[in-house]
């Protein structure tokens, strides 16, 4: 069913290929580890004439996103990418394209936040972007990095969406790892992503004022409109993924599962560690544990319906967070509890934090999480407070 040719590509190069095949007009980006290979590859493509785009080598991530906003408002198909501190520096600007309905496409090579400085992967940068009103999704491997970036252009620019869209790929785990993947034919991708035409662009012949200011008498109405429009993107996102699935043979869903048949317990993951978790599930299943895996593909808008459906037969969710919401615990775990409260009061949810700043999460640790979570449920049932545990951390001064 899958078309195209099998190639070995680094995750960053897979993203660059998707940007090239989308015939992107303007790229504006600032280099930051572990995103650099994407901008380097795109620079080469532009220099070699393989991609007819302008690459604006801006002087900061703040300007990178600002230039994307300007280019998108002027009607161009636009791409940028960043990571960690870079996403933090552009944070102020990230709210602009979503509030002004400008379909910028971005890839984040997920990275920890300083201090101490860490260029390595975790999801601290993602968690700082939860409320920016961008469509956000997670890739687990390089194939998905390509596919979801391709879909991101379709989703962002769809007239029933018109929200910026961000694909998260784990820094180094995907950005710097070469995997085999199917690269579709250019014509097929071109057929999937039509020419982009925004209904309102900056055009002297049809002048519009964009970005007027909103005093209290109108601000709430603008935000309500944005919230409704953002919520309403869900069916279109699924339809576009369905269309992609039909054309290219790889189907994406807001919530995806693995070995959930008859499961009473499920791990919950996002991003590249999902594949490690699958191996852990295989081993646990072989040992007779009724465990499955739930992977959040669509992070925003949050897939409430699909999540509730996925957990309906479960007793226990074991959530891995690759970030800390200090003073609160694991942010994904908190969100799952919030999403399921009032729906499944008998469902126990236990969170773990791991994989911070590039610390590997191993199969054994996922297995540990499952057994530990079952112990914690017993403690919860005895009325005990259960702390969020950071897995794989050294404690007590031992070196």
């Amino acid at each position: 069913m899958t078309k195209g040719k099998i190639v070995g590509l680094e995750g960053s190069f897979a993203v660059a290929e998707a940007v090239r095949m989308a015939n992107t007009d303007v790229i504006s980006a600032y280099p930051i580890t572990p995103q650099t290979h994407i901008v380097e590859r795109l620079s080469e493509m532009v220099a070699d004439g393989d991609l007819d785009a302008d690459f604006i080598c801006v002087e900061s991530e703040h300007s990178a996103m600002s230039a994307c906003v300007g280019a998108s408002a002027a009607g161009a198909r636009v791409f940028t990418c960043s990571a960690g501190q870079g996403l933090e520096l552009m944070h102020e600007v990230l709210y602009i394209p979503s509030s002004m309905r400008l379909p910028v496409v971005a890839v984040a090579a997920n990275r920890a936040l300083s201090a101490p400085l860490s260029v390595w992967c975790d999801h601290s940068d993602v968690m700082a972007l939860r409320d920016i009103s961008w469509v956000q999704m997670f890739a687990e491997n390089n194939q998905q990095a390509f596919d979801l970036t391709t879909c991101a252009f379709r989703i962002a620019e769809d007239k029933d969406v018109l929200f910026p869209t961000m694909v998260h790929i784990d820094g180094f785990y995907l950005s710097h790892v070469i995997e085999d993947m199917v690269l579709p034919e250019e014509e097929e991708v071109a057929g999937f992503i039509p020419d982009y035409k925004h209904p309102f662009v900056l055009d002297p012949d049809k002048p519009v004022s964009m970005g007027c200011y909103g005093p209290p008498f109108i601000y709430s109405e603008t935000k309500k409109a944005q919230d409704v429009a953002f919520d309403n993107t869900r069916p279109r996102i699924q339809e576009i993924w369905d269309e992609f699935g039909e054309l290219f043979g790889r189907q994406y869903l807001p919530v995806e599962s693995y070995k959930m048949e008859g499961a009473r317990v499920a791990l919950v993951t996002m991003g590249s560690c999902s594949e490690t978790a699958m191996l852990a599930v295989d081993e646990l299943r072989a040992a007779g544990v009724d465990v499955g895996l739930i992977r959040l593909r669509l992070w925003r808008p949050f897939p409430f319906k699909e999540l509730r459906e996925a957990v309906k037969d479960l007793d226990l969710l074991v959530v891995l967070d690759r970030a800390i919401s200090f003073g609160m615990g694991g942010p994904v775990c908190s969100e799952l509890k919030s999403a399921l409260y009032n729906k499944r009061e008998d469902l126990k949810i236990v969170g773990f934090i791991g994989g911070l700043g590039g610390r590997d999460i191993q199969i054994s640790e996922f297995k540990y999480m499952v057994t530990q979570a079952q112990e914690k449920v017993k403690a919860i049932e005895r009325g005990k407070e259960v702390e969020t545990v950071i897995i794989g951390v050294r404690e007590g001064g031992g070196r």
Partner: protein, 309 residues
């Protein structure tokens, strides 16, 4: 020197108002007047990017707008970066045959805070990259939109709410105004100029020249702010003329590195005439005024030396 026709043929100016009346600027606002002249000079074949600040606030209260041309505002410090994206998008879309080339001009508007402070990095980046745009800095010498706080463009000795005149030794602003036009010149861009709405035809001629120039152009417009400068609202034009005649804000152009004075004054008026009309300087004593007088004269001599004779 400015060309004679630039100074004395007001009938050449369009009666069309591209910046519509009915905006909410304060009485006597020199900045609103400057915007009006700039928009007359630019015409409608233009895309304007505004920074957050007085201009954006008094012109664009949802759902109304004063802008008769394509206009966008996003944030405070990113005008030059947004402009870069717009210019780049236009260029690429023309190249790819998606739109016809209609010689659209790209113009950024920012106050002195948006230009000399928080937006300086983005502006420096855009000038260095050589985008084809005109950047207009409306210099009213402080953060007026937030209520008269000092910027790096506030002159020495001026009272502001964050550089107050203290009970002990403070005289208000204790640093000298950042020379932003010189910073623009240092980027080797083809066009840099200063202007003032008290000299409207000179101002409009410069805007046209800046917009026509290939590559980055920078114009700093002295924008009298009666509200922030604590002066009567009916002396805006007079005060602008005094700023030029005293040498506080000389009018000049730098075209491809060559300096030209637009109004050359062999004898500067005493700075006191300019300062005494403004409440923001009323606390200055004779020594303070002498210090400013010396500095203004030195700066004027330095500027004249740059002009090839």
């Amino acid at each position: 020197m400015a060309k004679e026709e630039d100074l004395f043929v007001p009938r050449q100016v369009t009666t069309e108002e591209n910046f519509a009346p009915g905006h909410r600027a304060c009485i006597g606002c020199g900045e609103a007047l400057a915007v009006r002249y700039v928009c007359k000079a630019l015409g409608k074949n233009v895309i304007i990017v505004s920074a957050t600040g007085c201009i954006e606030i008094f012109s664009s209260l949802l759902p109304q707008t004063s802008w008769q041309m394509a206009w966008i505002h996003t944030l405070f410090e990113n005008v030059a970066a947004v402009m870069s994206g717009i210019e780049s998008a236009y260029k690429v879309r023309v190249r790819k045959g998606k739109i016809a080339d209609k010689n659209v001009k790209f113009v950024g508007f920012g106050g002195d805070g948006a230009t000399t402070d928080i937006g300086l990095q983005a502006l420096s980046g855009a000038m260095e990259r050589g985008h084809d745009f005109l950047y207009v800095c409306y210099d009213n010498e402080a953060y007026m939109n937030t209520g008269i706080q000092r910027s790096s463009s506030t002159p020495y000795g001026a009272w502001t709410t964050t550089a107050p005149v203290g009970k002990k030794s403070s005289i208000g602003q204790v640093t000298w105004k950042k020379n932003m036009p010189e910073i623009a010149v240092a980027h080797n861009i083809p066009y840099v100029a200063t202007a003032c709405p008290s000299y409207p035809l000179d101002l409009m001629a410069k805007v046209k020249r800046g917009a026509e120039m290939d590559g980055p152009a920078y114009i700093q417009i002295f924008s009298i702010c009666p509200t922030g400068w604590r002066c009567p609202t009916d002396i805006t034009i007079e005060l602008g003329r005094l700023a030029v005649e005293t040498g506080v804000f000389p009018l000049y152009e730098v075209i491809n590195g060559e300096y030209n004075l637009s109004v050359d004054l062999p004898d500067l008026k005493p700075i006191r005439e300019y300062l005494k009309k403004q409440g923001r300087f009323k606390h200055l004593n004779d020594d303070n005024i002498a210090t400013i007088q010396t500095r203004v004269e030195e700066d004027y001599v330095k500027l004249r030396e740059k002009v090839k004779r």
